[in-house]
């Protein structure tokens, strides 16, 4: 028993050390002497590790200050449409257009529509049309992700906007949305889409990311992102070499800016929501009560469970394995991708070194030759001919490793939030089942 607690404390204490070294907000170090069996002191370090969970809150983030868009207001309609579109197309990511208008630094999103996914032409489709084929899935995902900046979608959305304007919808494109699973949205396609939008429509556009898997755990998981100005500048030059990164001091933490989201209902919807649940009888009498257990069950079926506004208790679920397994898998994937990038980089270094050695040898040879020619009173040969003879390898773009870094950060935050939640729940269950223990 004692050993278990020490393990907990040790783990989090090391975590705290790592935080401190990287100048993130330093959590107060836990004194092992105070780490006794009380719930509070064992819970506290876990909560501390979750401070990274909400990195960007309204008006506190300096990165938001110079952004043309600072807050995002979603109408209920948009939320429901995105949820519906994303869940029906799951596991293929869904993408769509957001329309609305901008009011100062706030962006109001009032409607949305999905992008059509262009199906691969039938000749090629003959082979790949089997949905069980993993390549088919990958193709579909790639197609869906490419949709926001595809040419077909541009004409589609232009036409759609034209029609929406006729029925008094705020027909101004304000961004796009996509769905993801377990936070795996940071990819080159995502960045390119958002760069495309941020370049195009007057800079004021956002990317909404809806996490299908995490929403099924009980809490609506919707985030709005924009690319930081520094990253957009780098994107414009399309240069992600070591040098340019040093110059711009761009780190993976700076790629995306998260915007705070609020949900706004219309008056009409508010009144509709108020009358949806049938109010309980004001003065219950004997005949309001069910006569038997069976009747009560039937009643509960029709009235409580089917009530759309019934409280949602999915978040109280105690299962942890699916989440941990999936996150570990995704983390491993990221690590593999990272190693690959690292290999590319070191391959580049090696070939660069080889070429440079060759050039040096050539230069020395030419120098010696020139010295010889000088002795023989002959004109010297040019010494910069090596530029024509040797070609230096081009440096691989570091964009991918930046994105991997951001993705890993996303996963780590997710795990932090999850562990904070789960440990709270588990202590609760333990306290409930073993009274007097705590």
């Amino acid at each position: 028993m004692k050993a278990e607690w020490e393990f907990v404390v040790k783990v989090t204490a090391t975590g705290a050390n790592i935080y401190r070294r990287y100048q993130l907000p330093p959590p107060p170090l836990l004194d092992p002497a105070t780490a006794d069996h009380s719930t509070y002191s064992t819970l506290r370090p876990i909560q501390l590790t979750s401070t990274g969970k909400q990195p960007i809150m309204a008006n506190t983030d300096p990165k938001l200050a110079d952004s043309p868009v600072r807050t995002l207001q979603l109408s209920a309609l948009v939320v429901m449409r995105i949820i519906k579109h994303s869940t029906t197309s799951f596991p293929t990511p869904a993408t769509g257009m957001l329309v609305g208008m901008d009011v100062g630094t706030a962006l109001e999103v009032t409607n949305s529509f999905p992008f059509p996914v262009s199906t691969p032409d039938t000749q090629a489709g003959q082979v790949a049309m089997n949905p069980a084929d993993p390549y088919y899935q990958a193709d579909q995902a790639a197609l869906a992700l490419a949709a926001p900046r595809a040419k077909g979608s541009a004409t589609y959305s232009a036409e759609m906007l034209k029609y929406l304007r006729e029925v008094n919808v705020d027909a101004q494109g304000v961004g796009w949305y996509m769905s993801c699973s377990m936070g795996n949205f940071v990819s080159a396609a995502f960045i390119e889409n958002q760069a495309f939008y941020q370049r195009q429509t007057d800079e004021r556009s956002v990317a909404l990311v809806f996490d299908v898997s995490r929403t099924s755990q009980g809490s609506l998981n919707l985030h709005a992102y924009r690319l930081s100005p520094a990253f957009v500048a780098a994107m414009k030059e399309n240069k992600f070499t070591t040098e340019s990164l040093q110059k711009s001091n761009l780190r993976y933490q700076d790629i995306l800016i998260e915007l705070p989201i609020t949900i706004h209902n219309s008056h009409l919807l508010t009144s509709f929501l108020h009358q949806l649940p049938t109010p309980p009888p004001s003065a219950p009498t004997a005949k309001d009560f069910p006569a038997s257990l069976a009747e009560l069950r039937a009643d509960a079926q029709t009235h409580i469970a089917s009530n759309p506004l019934a409280p949602n208790y999915d978040t109280l679920d105690l299962a942890i394995d699916p989440f941990l397994e999936k996150t570990s898998d995704l983390l491993l994937e990221s690590i593999e991708a990272h190693t690959q990038e690292q290999n590319n980089a070191s391959y580049y270094q090696r070939s660069l070194g080889r070429e440079q050695a060759k050039i040096k040898a050539w230069q020395e040879k030419r120098k010696a030759e020139n010295a010889l020619r000088a002795q023989q009173k002959q004109p010297a040969l040019p010494e910069d001919e090596w530029q024509k003879l040797f070609k230096l390898p081009t440096e691989p773009s570091r964009l991918e490793s930046l994105l991997i870094g951001r993705q890993v950060e996303q996963y780590a935050r997710q795990v932090d939030g999850f562990s904070a939640m789960v440990s709270g729940k588990m202590f609760g269950v333990k306290g409930g089942l073993v009274p007097g223990e705590m």
Binding site: E4, F7, V11, T12, Y22, I46, K53, Q73, A76, M80, R81, I83, H85, T87, G96, P116, V117, Y156, Y163, V169, V212, L220, T242, L245, Y252, I263, H264, N265, S266, L268, A286, F289, P290, S292, L293, L296, P308, L309, P311, I320, L324, E325, S328, L331, S334, I335, T339, Q342, A345, G353, S401, I404, G405, V408, F418, M421, V422, M426, K430, L433
Partner: protein
Amino acid sequence: MGDATAAPPTNPSSSFLHLARPLAPAPIATTAPSTAPLNIAVQPQALISILDHASRRPADQDRVIGTLLGTRSDDGTEVEIKNCYAVPHTETHEQVEVDMDYQKRMLELHLRASPKEVLLGWYATSSDLNTFSALIQNFYSQQGDGTFPHPAVHLTVSTAPGTDVAAHTYISAPIGTTPERAADSCLFLPVPHEIRYGEAEKSGLEIIAGARDREDRSQPLHTDIETLERAVEQVLEMLERVSNYVSNVLDEEAEPSAALGQFLLNTLSLQPKVEPEEIERDFNSHIQDVLLVSYLANTIRTQIDLSNRLATAALTMGPETGSGDGKNDGERKQGHGQGQRGGRDRGHGQAGPGGRRGEQ
């Protein structure tokens, strides 16, 4: 209301009848088997979209209409309204104009994005059924562009101020003595409907419903922890209510109910009987799993950060940024060597979660 009984028309000037349709799956048409839906499910986003359209209607128009999209079961008895879009129309005392071209193009656009949905019918934002309704209904259920052979579904959502928002669903049957009369009259039959929502929509609806009691009708998104807190608070509140009720019954202040008592007793007996040691063991292994993965994730994050920094930081130590300098190059290599070491450390990290999963 059991049998098909004719009710007096609500509006004496219009040529339609209100009929209550028997709920048993009896064919309405005398010869062909019925293709009419018996039950209509409405998804919340369709309703919200209709309400949104209603609040954006032109000032001089009492009602606005739109097209309903969704899915129909194979035999046509179950209809699910999943989506809808607005269609502009103008209505005067004498005539009604529906922009049919708009409706056609919009349908095309919608079907391109979600090919599984079909045209189901139309909605209007007032609960009136008049001659114009019949005209539009016949337009939607016609052959060719319409829903034929299935009857079109008509959904009315009353949005008059001061009254409740009430939704009704109807299907129609042709009626009329002459072909001319048949074109602008039809028989609206009420069909039961329900609001159906998916599992994933629950959390969305919860947030939306959360905004209804606020003055500004807005609600910031919750974090996971806040959602958990709210759920726990709600459970506590419900427990409080139940225990209040029980103690009131014991004090003979509230009406007792045998069924409720039995239900509560059954629920109480659901508490699992487990040994404290077992709980202790499960608890510890669970919490260790969680903390291990959390720790690993953070270690990996740190390593990636470190490797990214090393990859770009090595050069800043050198005074020159050119690529031909030997000393510079050596430094960069050193930086990469460290990055590689980081990679190896991560190799250990990789073994961690794999080993954990192996245990399970």
